[in-house]
Symmetry: D2
Subunit: 368 residues, 4 copies
């Protein structure tokens, strides 16, 4: 289905970086949910570049909801949200040398040269603004039911944040922060690493950790629509994400079964795993613990250093030095996008399990 | 769509570990492809447990193709392949204590206790036999077009195999080997590690690396059906897979953009990236290089050690010591399943791009 | 998705008329539903040819459920039901002259000659046995919740049965009857018409009317997954169906708005349309009245008369006289297939609206 | 998937009659197709009400394409087209009495009263403007490949137009006509019938016949994605359509097999049916002849006559006399919508068969 994701809550993205507008259609929302434009604005603000660790292109991200809302509430019919592109400087871009690490060459192969190459076109991180807006809405819909998602910078070079151990308590600590960390003392060293990369005409990558709390046990499918499978399917759309791991993830490869299995005990009289090495998912299905995963975010491919490449116009090898406005790191901004993708997927999962109106009249979906 | 995967080649799985049979329906195959039962048998043989590093339950994996084949060739209508369960010892299993690390508790929450719990039921690794059979067929269909997938054990504890550097040359080295390694000298140490785990009533995990060669540039979608997204969606169905990374993956988090961007040069007169830090995918779309990724496979959850858990029958906390026949490691057997899932996803991607009959009369799909 | 139908309850068909077996996979069933094999057998019995108005090929329709059922109840995982083909006489069939009115030529164009042409292969009415078996199960699952579907012969040549006026009362009158009519006095004249057609080496068509009772108001979507759209999508798969109309259908083209609009009154204190010219659906969504529609079933294309055609083997024009065993009419047998397709679609609709477990613990889905 | 239709070309609709805008997202278009805004404008003009046989609400249907087009050609990424609502008079509408024959009551049951009821909201015929715009584009893309769809008024009350007999020659006769008829002499009598209905505070229905030419044989699937099934699925979304029949359709119920079977002969050396009683489809798959079908369009439900209904605000029975601006007939305007839905479905079918780029470099898809 290409640019649409979700079987029950379908998210359709459209737009190019330097076209008139980008936007999103959300289809499958429960009717009667209060639409708070502030929730959207707040989510967009977290994604917006700011300070000296980000691109100088700042979009005001004015948005308009053109359908699906009536008298301040969702109607249950498709909600289309449009964000005009205002601060475009297309002069910075022209067809020519492929930017290494970018989608330029792959897109050329796919679209035969008809793609809008300006600023990455449909591949631009700009498109994620629409995704973040949609996620902001979904998050505001799920919050009253106790379902929340949040992310923090988990690693950047040598700097490692503390992992989520008790996400219900930790999510508020990283919410609404454009540079979310559990160990605030890492903020300056990491920013310094980013600034140093920029100064060197380079960029840096990082790892983002995400947690979802409030999901009941019993959501997801064994084959193939596992919780991990659906989330990763969506997460790999977040530009620069090159890896996704749940629970112990790759570290499990060095561990013993006795270290990775989560023992169960009765908690408040109900069975529950008491460690979370499996990231809240067994056999593709939630076990009632928080869903915890990490995404690898590669360094921004747009760097100022001279790079070897090929010019698609001339068909010749050439050197490329990228100008324009770019982020020396995007993992911190990726947190907002990862949150959005996560909460939209979670909404879809719950909707599939409990029906289209699962949020009407207060959710009561405990399964065990 | 739950137990179905693939928009163009739909793979539907059915069956329980201790039911009469398991099977798979493949819908969307190009008509006229020669069906070689040996290809299925060979794929199944690689998945089958063998030696002292695997479970003692050995199924003959007799299979029958009951539809979709006529006069030795695919008809283009659904191909159903059935594998009877023959060597079942249900007495080894009964409802009771949740096995930590298994799907037991999540399945109970989802299915309300109606799930077939014997041997993991529909969650059993047994089901992957049907997947491997389907993958064996798909692999035999794609091989003449030059598209191949293969995997090797990349890591187990302290032992690291060499990474794929030139997969076209390396795939034959690991093909048809139930314990695939590029550095054969690691076989004995890794097997020894597995035996030691078994002796200790424990199990070990590992990392599997996979490569796909022969894919043209320009396959995949930017949002949301990226190559990474589709592959990971399917890969997380492989039991015990808890992480998927492409190219540099999580290592990219510690690198600079200048280290991760793949420069392009003219190769045989055509533009091509000359390193593969992005695993053959940019912006969700193939760039013409081999697609390379790694899966984290957790240690088998069935271990002989005493574990803390809860008995779902009595509702009481209890200790559990798992009997029965089990693998002390499954990452090596997972290679066959990962290959199957990979090649089925690749078939689906190619079919979406080039139409249902893309393999008829010889594939000619170069895009750049 | 080709041979799969249903977004929430996915029905996958496989098999050829003269292959080893046909079958169906049902994925998305609520766990815990009692599986009554008699319900399947009864549904199959209604589809089975009988008497002198049908083909002489009679299959015993032995079936086996190989997955998805445990201790007599659905597990919630895919249920695969297989029906071996036992009474095949492939010698009756061979590649050669296209049978006019059949799928032979279209199938040849699609599958390039690789299709299993024996007895129509995957296009054979034989495949509907698997569909009917699945429908029999779904019907037994929905009946306790008050949802039922049934059909009767509405028209054959000059003979018109009474329309459904009060389906809740009329459905029992046509249930479990292989030649269902509200006006029983039409049975003999219609059968006589069928016999006369056979005697003339010809065949006859008819119209089938179907009603679904027990659906709450508010099920379906405005665009594009209307109740009419989903049902017709599935119904046109029933071999020989060439038209579908809801409520007044084509007759509405000759009527005034004042004759077709259904006035509303309070019935038991709740708003309700008091006529049913719209067939229980407005704007694609159920209005709480029975869903009523009619299917046009064309005459069986296999006739004994000499027909002009082309021989695909020789590429020459030729005359064809079809031998073998055939039905001189299928509209009466189509009732069982239409019922199956209808109830499966209804299950899917309800599941999408109320979640996967909507039948657990008694359905309580009233919406107004 | 609710408001999205098409597996290969996905059409997503959004908007309400009296909201800020309506629109459509087209995802899956072949890159490099010339986008002619005149094609859209011309299609919209045919849908726009005109003269005394239509509503007095006339929208200018200004539209903007905000994505998916670059330098006048499709990029292959989602094309979003937005049509602002300009001429809205919401004062004409308020929650209250259910309008009989409309979706009001069904929508209330589905959306719990949160639906935008003004002017029918998301159920309004207004939404079809976006569909028609999308169809106009798709038609312009397919025309150079020889694939065309067109419709005419087939019946209204006692007036019957000639059926399509040679659509390739007849389609130009009915193209670009807001009141398309093969027998132009019927225009005045039918318009007079419409005017008489309006004068009587009533409305009239009709039948529309549609033909698609240029489709190769071999497109479509046997189960369940038949050509008839996919088209009808989409067609029942066209407001007021209550029946769809292919070829002889319901008339086949009164005919003999020998009258309905289409004999084959060699035409230009290739096998071809020489009559078209099956409407160009056998076994769900095109046979190379034009696809011909008819849709029943019920009388407009908005009529001036007093009608019995229930007021949802008061919960009381009441009489209703509908004011505002309405069409006394919509079957003629429905032609543009049916054409749009048809050509979009045809694009989807071709794309599934021949791949996403089937229109690049000239289509060459002959299959037999």
């Amino acid at each position: 289905m290409k640019n649409t994701f979700g079987q029950h809550l379908a998210v359709t993205l459209f737009g190019e970086s330097h076209g008139p507008a980008i936007g999103v259609v959300l289809d499958g929302l429960c009717p009667g949910l209060p639409v708070e434009e502030e929730a959207v604005a707040a989510a967009l603000a977290l994604r917006r570049p700011a300070g000296d660790t980000a691109t100088a292109r700042v979009e005001p991200d004015r948005f308009e909801i053109v359908s699906g809302v009536f008298e301040g509430k969702t109607t249950g019919t498709p909600l289309c949200l449009i964000i005009p592109n205002e601060n475009t400087r297309s002069g910075d871009y022209q067809r020519g040398p492929v930017r290494p690490g970018h989608a330029d060459f792959a897109a050329f192969a796919k679209y035969g040269g008809y793609e809008d190459y300006r600023g990455g076109g449909h591949f631009s991180g700009r498109i994620t603004a629409a995704l973040v807006a949609a996620g902001g809405l979904a998050a505001s819909f799920l919050a009253p039911a106790g379902v929340q998602a949040g992310s923090h910078i988990y690693r950047c070079g040598p700097y490692c944040d503390a992992p989520f151990l008790n996400p219900a308590a930790e999510l508020p600590l990283v919410a609404n922060n454009p540079f979310p960390l559990l160990r605030r003392e890492l903020e300056e060293p990491i920013k310094e690493r980013i600034r140093a990369a920029r100064a060197a005409g380079d960029s840096v990558g990082g790892v983002v950790e995400t947690a979802v709390v409030g999901l009941p046990a019993g959501v997801g499918e064994p084959w193939f629509d596992t919780v991990e499978g659906l989330l990763s399917h969506a997460l790999f759309s977040v530009p620069a994400v090159k890896g996704v791991e749940f629970g112990d993830g790759f570290a499990a490869a060095e561990r013993m079964g006795s270290e990775v299995n989560d023992p169960l005990r009765l908690v408040n009289g109900r069975p529950q795993p008491i460690t979370n090495h499996n990231g809240g998912v067994n056999g593709g299905i939630t076990n009632g613990l928080p869903v915890v995963f990490r995404c690898a975010v590669k360094p921004t491919p747009s760097i100022a250093r001279v790079q070897q490449t090929v010019d698609l116009l001339t068909g010749q090898e050439t050197d490329l030095q990228i100008g324009g406005r770019h982020d020396p790191a995007i993992f911190h901004r990726a947190c907002a996008v990862i949150n959005a993708v996560t909460i939209l997927t979670v909404y879809d999962l719950l909707c599939g399990r409990f029906g289209t109106d699962f949020l009407r009249g207060g959710a009561a979906w405990n399964t065990v």
